[in-house]
């Protein structure tokens, strides 16, 4: 921000000084603004679009950030730390050891008794609905409301007394899922038994009602049901399923101030937790969970990742906005050329001319920055409404409730950025104008072409080549993608300045520009290390450099395209006029073309990415399934057995998974992080193992699975740490997105042979794993695959609650899945085909892609509006020429068509280049970048979307230009010529 303030001060300082101390200059500038209010409004309108897009990008970032961060307080309320016991009777000794009375900064404690179970609508109802993995909670409502300082944050205000008898109070998400309300009957299934209960109330997802057993998996929804005290133990005693997971006894602790209540709270939680950990250390089965901090950290990570993504993608639109700004001020300057020439002729000094133009531009810039940033807030609001409906539809446990947020600092920053960009453009054009040749300006003659052999072009050319080469060198040395992409582009584009000295313009510009495009398409393969973990900025840089090079290529050779068009059009006057202006004003055309290319490039790139991800569903499903057809997940408190599954109609074979949440720690991590692990046995490999992306030492997939199932490497394999200490790792199959949080490319993509420690969260015992295979696309969330006995012994207690199921020949897997889910409701079984599971997972991605594309559509709006503004100005600029054409006998329809064809010529070039580059870049990135090596991706072109992208922007552009084109056709020749003469 301080840099921005300095830049604003630098760019506005002289303007303010002149406006105050030089009344003559001020009056001259103000008169220009006031005497042409229409012109002034157009300049402001064009300029504010750029600022609006910048502001929108910031506001969307704020909204996502706040919405995700909001998850923590709404879900957890006053719960900061939780003392968890693996077995219920382990909690009391832990509470005693914790000596809570003497713990500082404790605001309240609350005992909770919880169990993962299935809640369903009654079995006698048609169209039965069920929610496995619901958290049953037993808690005293009065105690709960007194927990912490804010009763409202507990979620139970107004929930009445603690449920008794056959009452149950449901969380909002569960009630919504089951489509039940107060007075409806539900059934609770656990431990092989069930209870029929009546819904007494529904509470919001907040505090105790928001704290479910899945909180550590990052779900944003919470499926909770408050049952009468004694229900869980009663069912456990009645059901007699000793293998099933026991209930969880826990003590929720609220730290003074809470994490969100004042600055102190943020540090108290972890400190208090640390103290608690010390006191209960050594007690079996006890874990101190820093739930609030974990949720906040996760939220912050996701928010920052989304902000980065939107900021990066928004960067394209911002650059498009900048190009529009430059175009508008260049047009303004050219239009005023004669007038400025006269002012110089009557004695206005060069620097006064520059400063007058500066004051005038600053007036436009200030209004545009203020109005543009406010418009950005409005557009951001619209996006958040669309995003809200998309994000609320997230699958299963993940959905974000969007809270529109526009931080004043963001709006101010956008305003200042817009102002600085405008002022830099204004000063640039003013200085250029200041150098005008008085006679040529008065006569409105074009400036002679610049000497390609000037000393200035030599200096800039050499500097650019040197700078670009140094950037490339530093980028490759540091393994950083942005300079590796940008450096060669700068060097090659600067080379144009040097080549022009000796070679014809077409060759001098076309060859380096084509080389830039070629390099950007192949850089991943040339310097793979630099592109291993690319940042969003790299994609922006690559997009901008490729688009710039392609635009230079197109602009340099536009006469060839136009020549071909003219040969086709023959004497069609509208076509000749339509291409003549863009060809004659290549700089301005280049700016417009660049704007379109960038926007369409980004849209195509994202559309292709989205298409490829969606298209991978059947392939990924095939890779996941191995020799099986279905995947069954079930509730830990009452999972079906393999035998029960085999007894179902249509089931041929079953392989169970013992899944648990454990902690892992890599060498690059500061502390252990939660991830899933699943134990499997040889049954999983019976019909063919799931595919692997890569394997350790290139061993066969089956061998890697078999080695992992065995739980140990052959004794002949000797392993030693760098210091020579021998160790015996456990073989493991690791998912490609292992320990990846917040979306985007992985920060450290796992590779075969990597070592990682697995840490028992309770005992803190650790063992070292060695990745013998990397599995792509872990859509089931099975996490790290390990030998079943190892998981059973290392992470206890845990149950076999997940199954790979093969349908019998002749049975439709979808029908078998539906039957399994319906028949095994008491077990909380959810059976899905692998394809359905992947499709469900990708539906959230699809929604997200749509949102991003919608956001990018804003850029398109800027492009279309920009083209409209430029055309309105073109009509004014060419008024006299239009008048002459009409005098010569050109029909008004020809004039209108000429403007529409001019827009078509520019927009269609931009669209075609953008689509082609977008497809090429997407192909290149997916084929070569390590960022996409984590998924089994096969490139394919989204033909339908490409068709839309070719047609819709063009039609929209033509509609945008229809107004100015019509106004051009209505120019009355006598009026236009009278004004001129």
């Amino acid at each position: 921000m301080s840099v921005l303030v300095v830049l604003v001060a630098l760019s506005m300082g002289l303007v303010v000084f002149d406006a105050v101390r030089r009344p003559g200059l001020r009056r001259l500038a103000a008169r220009n603004v006031l005497r042409r209010p229409g012109e002034a409004a157009l300049v402001v309108a064009g300029s504010m679009l750029g600022t609006a897009i910048i502001c929108t990008s910031f506001v969307v970032g704020d909204t996502f950030g706040a919405s995700i961060r909001n998850i923590a307080p709404t879900k957890l309320g006053e719960i900061d730390i939780v003392l968890e016991a693996s077995e219920p009777d382990q909690l009391l000794p832990a509470i005693a050891a914790a000596d809570l009375e003497t713990l500082p900064d404790v605001d309240g404690t609350l005992p909770l008794y919880r169990l993962g179970a299935t809640v369903a609508t009654p079995g006698d109802e048609p169209d039965r609905r069920a929610k496995p993995f619901t958290t049953l909670v037993e808690v005293d409502f009065d105690d709960a409301r007194a927990f912490g300082r804010d009763p409202g944050a507990t979620g139970l205000v107004g929930a009445g007394p603690t449920p008794t008898g056959d009452e149950v109070v449901l969380g909002r998400d569960l009630a919504h899922k089951l489509e039940v309300g107060v007075g409806d009957r539900v059934e609770v299934h656990a431990y092989g038994t069930s209870r029929a209960l009546v819904v007494r109330g529904v509470v919001e997802r907040r505090g105790i009602a928001g704290y479910d057993l899945a909180v550590q998996w990052g779900g944003t929804r919470a499926f909770t049901a408050f049952v009468p005290p004694g229900t869980i133990d009663g069912m456990r005693a009645e059901g007699q399923l000793p293998a099933a997971a026991p209930p969880q006894a826990a003590l929720a602790i609220s730290a003074e101030g809470g994490v969100f209540h004042g600055g102190r709270g943020a540090t108290i939680g972890p400190r208090l937790g640390g103290l608690l950990e010390e006191r209960v250390a050594g007690l079996e089965g006890i874990n101190v969970a820093f739930v609030k901090n974990d949720v906040i950290e996760n939220a912050d990570l996701q928010a920052s990742s989304l902000r980065q993504l939107f900021g990066g993608i928004g960067g394209f639109s911002v650059i498009a906005g900048i190009l529009l700004l430059v175009n508008i001020f260049v047009m303004l300057a050219e239009e005023r050329k004669a007038e400025l020439g006269v002012l110089r002729a009557v004695g206005l000094k060069r620097n006064h001319l520059v400063r007058t133009f500066g004051i005038e531009g600053a007036m436009y810039a200030v209004v545009a920055a203020v109005v543009g940033s406010l418009l950005g807030v409005v557009i951001g609001r619209l996006i958040s409404v669309v995003a809200a409906s998309l994000m609320a539809r997230g699958d299963g446990d993940f959905a974000i409730s969007m809270t529109f947020t526009a931080q004043p600092s963001s709006v101010l920053t956008a305003m200042l950025v817009g102002l600085v960009i405008s002022m830099v453009t204004i000063w640039g054009t003013s200085l250029r104008i200041g150098r005008l040749n008085i006679i040529r300006a008065i006569r409105e003659q074009a400036d002679p072409p610049r000497d390609p052999r000037s000393r200035r072009s030599l200096v800039f050319g050499v500097l650019g080549v040197v700078l670009g080469t140094l950037m490339l060198q530093s980028g490759v040395a540091a393994g950083s993608a942005p300079p590796t992409s940008l450096g060669p582009a700068i060097a090659l584009l600067s080379l144009i300045l040097l080549l022009r000295r000796r070679l014809p313009e077409r060759v001098a510009a076309s060859v380096p520009a084509a080389l830039v495009v070629l390099y950007e398409m192949t850089c991943f393969a040339i310097f793979p290390d630099a592109y291993r973990n690319p940042e969003i900025a790299m994609f922006v840089i690559q997009g901008v450099t490729t688009s710039a090079a392609a635009v230079i290529l197109a602009a340099t050779n536009a006469d060839l395209i136009a020549g071909a068009a003219e040969r086709v059009a023959g004497s069609a006057m509208a076509a000749r006029l339509g291409v003549a202006y863009p060809l004659a004003r290549r700089f301005r055309t280049g700016l417009l073309l660049g704007m379109y290319t960038l926007i369409i490039f980004t849209l195509t790139f994202m559309a292709t990415l989205s298409h490829v991800f969606m298209e991978q569903t059947p392939r990924v499903a095939d890779q996941m399934r191995g020799g099986f057809d279905l995947f069954v997940d079930s509730t830990w408190s009452n999972p079906p057995t393999a035998e029960q599954l085999l007894a179902q109609d249509g089931v041929a074979s079953v392989a169970g998974l013992r899944r648990a949440g454990v902690q892992f720690e890599r060498a690059i991590d500061d502390e252990p992080r939660w991830w899933a692990a699943s134990g499997f046995d040889l049954q999983l490999l019976a019909g063919g193992a799931p595919s692997l992306q890569s394997t350790w030492r290139g061993i066969e997939h089956e061998e890697a699975w078999a080695l992992t199932a065995a739980g140990a490497f052959p004794e002949s394999e000797a392993f030693a740490h760098a210091d020579g200490t021998p160790f015996q790792p456990i073989p493991a199959i690791i998912p490609s997105f292992f320990l990846q949080e917040g979306g985007g490319p992985p920060d450290a993509a796992p590779e075969p042979g990597m070592l990682v420690d697995i840490v028992d969260p309770v005992s803190k015992e650790r063992r070292t794993l060695l990745a013998v295979g990397i599995v792509a696309g872990d859509w089931a969330g099975n996490g790290v695959y390990l030998a079943e006995p190892f998981v059973r012994e290392f992470v206890s207690p845990t149950v076999v609650a997940r199954f790979f199921v093969r349908a019998e020949a002749g049975h439709d897997p979808d029908e078998v899945a539906a039957a399994l889910t319906a028949d095994l409701i008491p077990h909380g079984a959810e059976a899905r085909t692998f394809q359905e599971m992947v499709a469900l997972g990708t539906s959230t991605q699809a929604g997200f892609f749509r949102l991003v594309q919608g956001y990018l559509g804003l850029g398109l709006l800027v492009g279309i509006a920009g083209l409209g503004v430029v055309m309105v100005r073109a009509v004014r600029e060419r008024r006299r020429e239009i008048g002459m054409l009409r005098a010569m006998g050109f029909q008004s329809a020809v004039v209108k068509r000429a403007f529409l064809l001019e827009a078509t010529f520019v927009a269609s070039q931009g669209i075609v280049i953008g689509v082609a580059l977008g497809l090429l870049t997407a192909w290149s990135v997916m084929s070569n970048s390590a960022a996409f090596s984590t998924e089994a991706i096969e490139f394919s072109i989204p033909w339908v979307t490409v068709g839309w992208l070719l047609v819709v922007p063009l039609v929209a552009s033509l509609l945008g230009v229809l107004g100015p084109a019509t106004s051009a056709s209505r120019v009355r020749p006598a009026v236009a010529l009278r004004i001129a003469d």
């Binding site: 074009a446 006998g889 003469d981």
Partner: protein
């Protein structure tokens, strides 16, 4: 055989500009132009010369009266028909040339031909030929900003001539030119007229006006004089000093 009917007949043409203040610019113009005439329209600034040219050529609407060209009432035509008529029957030359800056000289000149449906190749041939006539054969590929003022006006005249129009309207064709260039342009117009072209030329310069075969003076929106250009040589009913000198020189020879 030359058509004996007048080329242009304007009767009672009135024109008022309506804005914050209503200004009646033409107050009933009656004018007949015969084929082959070079009519010089003169008068003080702001008295309606250019407006008269615009109204008589159909570039601007009129409030009352009629303008017949070749017997056709151009103000009774639709805009499209009148535009078509202009393309085929009229040429225009303006003070500020009004060339299309993004086209070359040849392209500028061929525009009116292309509008009237002449094939591109033929249009280019005729455009180059007429540019050669006006002495610009060496400037065919140059764009207007690369030409001098005189050259630009010669391109404009070539453009006006290329369709072989019935009438050329010239509004201060030498107004932006130095005296030497103006003389060259005037000579060109006179040559064109000598070849049979009808020209109506608005000018405020008596020297240019003398080139006409007929003088029409417009003052306060009305035609106040319509007759010989000799009147330009009279001052207070007598030949002006310059004219006396010219006559003396001729007598001496």
């Amino acid at each position: 055989m030359t058509d004996p009917s007048p080329l242009l007949v304007a009767e009672g043409v009135r024109k008022t500009y309506r804005g914050a203040v209503e200004v009646e610019v033409l107050k009933g113009i009656d004018l007949t132009v015969q084929r082959g005439e070079l009519v010089a329209v003169m008068g003080p600034s702001g008295n309606g010369k250019t407006t008269m040219l615009n109204c008589l050529s159909g570039l601007d609407e009129i409030d009352a009266g009629s303008v017949h060209i070749d017997g056709q009432d151009i103000h009774a035509m639709s805009d499209a028909r009148r535009t078509e008529h202009r393309a085929s029957r009229m040429g225009f030359v303006f003070q500020s040339f009004n060339l299309i800056p993004v086209f070359t000289a040849a392209e500028n000149v061929e525009l009116p031909l292309l509008v009237t449906g002449v094939k591109a190749k033929e249009a280019r041939r005729r455009s180059e030929a007429i540019l050669e006539v006006v002495g610009l054969a060496h400037r065919l590929r140059n764009r207007p900003p690369e030409l001098s003022g005189g050259e630009q006006q010669r391109v404009a005249i070539a453009r006006a001539l290329v369709t072989e129009p019935a009438i050329i309207w010239a509004d201060e064709p030498t107004g932006n030119l130095d005296s030497e260039t103006a003389a060259a342009v005037l000579a060109l117009l006179k040559d064109v007229h000598t070849a049979g072209q009808t020209i109506v030329m608005v000018t405020h310069d008596a020297g240019i006006g003398r080139a006409g075969t007929r003088l029409v003076k417009v003052s306060d929106g009305q035609v106040t004089y319509d007759g010989s250009t000799d009147v330009l040589d009279l001052r207070d009913g007598k030949p002006a000093k310059a004219a006396r000198r010219r006559r003396a020189a001729v007598t001496a020879k």
